[in-house]
């Protein structure tokens, strides 16, 4: 997908070159790219998103899933998630592909 606009059908997967470690409660987590050895910190919300991506899922499913659980989230949280996904994709820590068109109803 690269520079393409993220859509609800965009399938998000963890990059196979990423190593992740959750830190202590309230301290977020850290990500390493194995090829570049570049290191990235993520905040608590970032760790929630990363945990959700244990299995590949579409952006729409991810937003729906988070929306059911988030309490007192700022009104911009959906934009924050999109920005986070795009940022990690730009760093090759997430892989974005187009979801197959024949997905069953209710799993868009």
């Amino acid at each position: 997908v690269g520079e393409q606009h993220l859509s609800g059908d965009t399938l998000i997967s963890r990059g196979d070159r990423a190593v992740y470690r959750r830190l202590a409660a309230g301290e977020g987590g850290v990500l390493l790219h194995l090829d570049t050895a570049a290191y990235h910190g993520v905040n608590e919300f970032g760790t929630v998103v990363w945990d959700r991506l244990e299995r590949p899922m579409t952006l729409q499913d991810l937003l729906d899933d988070l929306g059911r659980e988030l309490r007192d989230a700022p009104p911009t949280w959906r934009d924050d998630v999109r920005g986070f996904i795009q940022d990690l994709s730009d760093r090759d820590l997430l892989t974005l592909t187009q979801a197959p068109p024949d997905r069953p109803e209710g799993q868009s």
Partner: protein, 321 residues
């Protein structure tokens, strides 16, 4: 504990001239070693046999997997190779170390003083032996305060060894001057390294008398001191109370807690890993584990001998509570 006998067998078949511990290894050696700690108590410790090669080994002609180039004040040049049985490390002016983690043997170069061979032995060659245990190698000094350890991490020329020497001078036990083997499991701990201090000549002069030390080797750059007597102590791991990252500034020392994400950034750059996915991941997870479970502090202080007592006092009274 390794029980296989090496095919060359020189350590097992020739006279054992040294026995003790270092970096968590129960060490036996056919050459005299002056920097070992007391032997480890009975238990399931890693074993390490050190022998002197009976002839020079040719340096491989393939590309090294790591290379160290000389830096200002540190004319150290070396190359690390992956070999069939493990690793080979060639240090300019010293020779080749053959490291065999499977058989737990390190062979040091012939025809160099034992003290020089030992000083280099407890650097990268011994690290390559303990990486397979999953433990972390950190570029850090370590001192014992009460019954726990404080790691002092920094790149070269940031006063790490000087501060460690000052702790020794003030009566604290020196656990390591430059490189630490860290067990990152539930309660992180550090294994005492070689009982040595390698000080630049100007630093040794500036520090003044260092009790319970003796000169074991000296070259143009540094004097290598061995810690003597009871100050040396045993080799059992010491629980880590804190990690202090050293920074250079001006004015009175400032000691502040840093969050875990910043701590990982600092420690990651000071850890040693092999250029493989598995080892890089192991190292990163180890660093993250330390940052998640041990308080990490940032110390900014002037690099002066006069500041050392205040720095020691701040660390001793703040980081071990």
């Amino acid at each position: 504990v390794t029980t296989q006998e090496p095919s060359s067998g020189s350590v097992l078949t020739s006279q054992v001239r040294a026995a003790g511990s270092c970096h968590g290894f129960q060490v036996r050696s056919s050459l005299p070693l002056d920097l070992l700690r007391e032997p480890l108590p009975a238990g399931d410790w890693d074993e390490l046999m050190v022998e002197r090669a009976d002839h020079d080994v040719s340096e491989p002609t393939v590309a090294p997997i790591r290379e160290w180039l000389p830096a200002p004040g540190k004319p150290f040049s070396a190359r690390l190779y992956a070999t069939t049985g493990g690793f080979g490390m060639w240090i300019d002016g010293v020779g080749g170390y053959v490291i065999d983690p499977t058989r737990s043997i390190i062979s040091v170069p012939p025809d160099i003083p034992s003290a020089l061979a030992e000083s280099r032995l407890w650097g990268v060659p011994s690290v390559l032996m303990f990486l397979r245990s999953g433990h972390l190698s950190l570029h850090a000094a370590a001192v014992q305060i009460e019954d726990r350890a404080v790691l002092l991490t920094a790149p070269g020329r940031h006063g790490k060894t000087t501060l460690a020497a000052a702790f020794h001078q003030a009566g604290f036990r020196l656990l390591s001057e430059d490189l630490c083997r860290v067990n990152t499991e539930a309660e992180p701990s550090v294994f005492p390294a070689a009982a040595m201090l390698r000080l630049r000549h100007d630093v040794r002069t500036g520090l003044g008398a260092l009790p319970s030390t003796e000169v074991v080797f000296e070259d143009e750059q540094r004097v290598h001191l061995g810690v003597t007597g009871e100050r040396r102590g045993g080799g059992t791991p010491v629980p880590i109370a804190a990690v202090v990252t050293l920074h250079i500034g001006t004015g009175p020392p400032v000691l502040e807690r840093i969050d875990a994400v910043d701590a990982v950034r600092d420690l990651w750059s000071l850890s040693f890993n092999l250029p493989t996915d598995a080892d890089r991941a192991r190292c990163f997870l180890g660093v993250s584990s330390i940052a998640a479970s041990v308080p990490v502090w940032r110390l900014t202080r002037a690099l002066s001998f006069d500041a050392l007592p205040a720095v020691i006092d701040r660390i001793a009274t703040t980081c071990v509570t």
